[in-house]
């Protein structure tokens, strides 16, 4: 009897703990978002973060997209080789890249690059009293550190994904034309025939959501890190793992919202 109660109590504690954490995260996000409508705004920090995310993530995201598009074309060729191959391969490549792989892979890359950096930087600032110092220097750390990162990531990710879409489709095109010997014009026609506005829009919405999630987890884990170098390392790991899982889960949610009639 008491063993059963123990199990129930342990479960209850775990659930309560998780709920409390989710509540605190929501408060944190709400506070950060409120900073975006209360002047003064940290424009310098926003610009710096935006450049860091949008511009310096370009090479990683572009390379990922390029190879993904190329692999997609090659893989689908084995399946569709018999008939109507141009249009089948073109549509597989363009739809997978714009709807799914562009935003998800860019999101995962940015989680590793930007989410980790945010958690490490803010975490180090936390454990070396720099966040407290900001407060004593008439600067709201939420406004100075968190809000600009959230906004920059949310706006930069869709731009990155537009680039990823173009380069991914181009990767598929290169393989189709130069390796599989398809007619360039026919392949391009097939690509634009099948592509609809909604495919791109849903991908960009995903991108914005993923950007927000990566920055939220990065800043949240950094902001709450404790206990020196080890704590910062832990915060960084948690930020990357949590945002990667959230990206995949939210990918499903957004897809379901867009494409389930």
């Amino acid at each position: 009897m008491s063993a059963v109660l123990d199990v129930v109590a342990t479960l209850g504690r775990a659930v309560l703990g998780a709920l409390a954490r989710i509540g605190r995260l929501a408060l944190f996000a709400g506070e950060a978002l409120s900073c975006l409508v209360r002047p003064p705004f940290a424009l310098r920090q926003f610009r710096q973060q935006f450049i860091e995310i949008a511009y310096f993530s370009l090479p990683v995201v572009a390379l990922t997209a390029l190879f993904t598009g190329m692999v997609l074309a090659l893989q689908s060729y084995t399946g569709f080789a018999r008939f109507n191959a141009e249009s089948a391969i073109a549509s597989v490549v363009v739809l997978s890249v714009t709807r799914e792989l562009g935003p998800v892979l860019a999101g995962l890359m940015v989680a590793g690059r930007i989410g980790a950096a945010m958690a490490a930087e803010i975490g180090t600032m936390r454990v070396t009293d720099q966040i407290d110092a900001l407060t004593t220097l008439s600067t709201d750390p939420m406004k100075h550190l968190v809000a600009p990162r959230l906004l920059a990531a949310t706006l930069a990710m869709p731009l990155l994904v537009i680039v990823a879409d173009i380069i991914g489709v181009m990767g598929g095109f290169l393989v189709a034309v130069f390796k599989l010997g398809f007619v360039a014009q026919a392949y391009l026609d097939a690509t634009f025939d099948v592509l609809e506005l909604m495919d791109v829009v849903s991908g960009l919405v995903k991108a914005a959501v993923f950007g927000f999630v990566v920055a939220l987890m990065g800043t949240w884990c950094g902001y709450n890190s404790r206990g020196g170098a080890q704590g910062v390392g832990q915060a960084t790991t948690t930020a990357v793992v949590a945002s990667s899982i959230l990206i995949l889960a939210l990918d499903y949610v957004v897809t379901a919202a867009f494409f389930s009639e």
Binding site: T135, T136, S138, T139
Partner: protein, 259 residues
């Protein structure tokens, strides 16, 4: 200058525990306006925690913190920001921002409050750095390129750059050579006597404590066990304080060492 009857800062029954560890167990303390208070106490006795509570960086479990006679433990965002505008703090480890150069660190508060422009800030920083014995060229370095003592002095320059009304110094002279220590002590006295600030300093250096302090208080076991004149440190008649000030092994304070 006359003493105002309400103390600048008054702590009553301040309590703070971290987990099972009761760090502050009913701290009562009064700091007179335009005077300098020195807080003494063993390592880990809760000195830094006390001043972080006053600044609102740590939320106490219980107790009242009054500044200018008004309770500041439950301020709203705007009032807390207004209070913070009047305070300055030198952190024990400096806590310089390592992503920006020294000059921007020094003028951070003035820039945040938009009291000076970025163009003016460099000159202003050079002046502030000169006060703590650093060359203007230091302003262009990154904090990571400075020695520990230099970082401390930059942090001190940053803490006083905005001319705060209440200043907290957490071990201002630790890690400095004796001469530079004396210079910094002079600067702290200056802040109080010339600028009319109220200072609360933590120090382990008795010579420095006598130089910068008007009053002194000793914290032990989570409480203030003695307050008195800083000048008398070392011959106060309180066995605990005298043992601490003279650095004697034998006395009422037992260090928790395992034999």
């Amino acid at each position: 200058m006359q003493d105002s009857p309400t103390p600048k800062i008054r702590l009553r029954g301040l309590r703070k525990a971290f987990g099972p560890k009761q760090v502050l167990d009913g701290v009562d303390l009064e700091v007179r306006a335009r005077h300098s208070m020195v807080i003494l106490g063993g390592s880990g006795s809760g000195k830094s925690v006390t001043i972080k509570c006053i600044l609102g960086l740590i939320r106490p479990d219980a107790g009242v913190i009054e500044v200018d006679g008004a309770d500041v433990t439950r301020l709203n965002r705007r009032d807390r920001a207004a209070l913070m505008d009047r305070m300055g703090m030198l952190f024990q480890n400096g806590a310089l921002f390592d992503s920006i150069p020294v000059w921007e660190n020094v003028c951070f508060k003035l820039l945040a409050q938009r009291r000076i422009s970025r163009a003016q800030a460099r000159d202003h920083a050079a002046e502030a750095l000169a006060q703590v014995g650093l060359a203007a060229s230091v302003g262009d370095l990154s904090p990571a390129e400075l020695s520990g003592g230099m970082q401390k002095r930059v942090a001190l320059a940053r803490a006083i750059a905005a001319r705060p009304d209440i200043i907290f110094f957490d071990e201002p002279t630790t890690g400095l050579d004796p001469i530079m220590g004396a210079v910094i002590d002079g600067l702290i006295v200056d802040c109080v006597e010339r600028l009319g600030a109220t200072a609360v300093s933590i120090t382990h250096d008795m010579a420095s404590a006598r130089r910068i302090g008007d009053d002194a208080a000793m914290i032990h076991g989570g409480r203030i066990v003695w307050t008195g004149s800083a000048e008398a440190l070392g011959r106060t008649g309180n066995a605990m304080v005298d043992q601490f000030a003279n650095g004697e092994r034998e006395g009422p304070i037992r260090m928790e060492l395992r034999k």
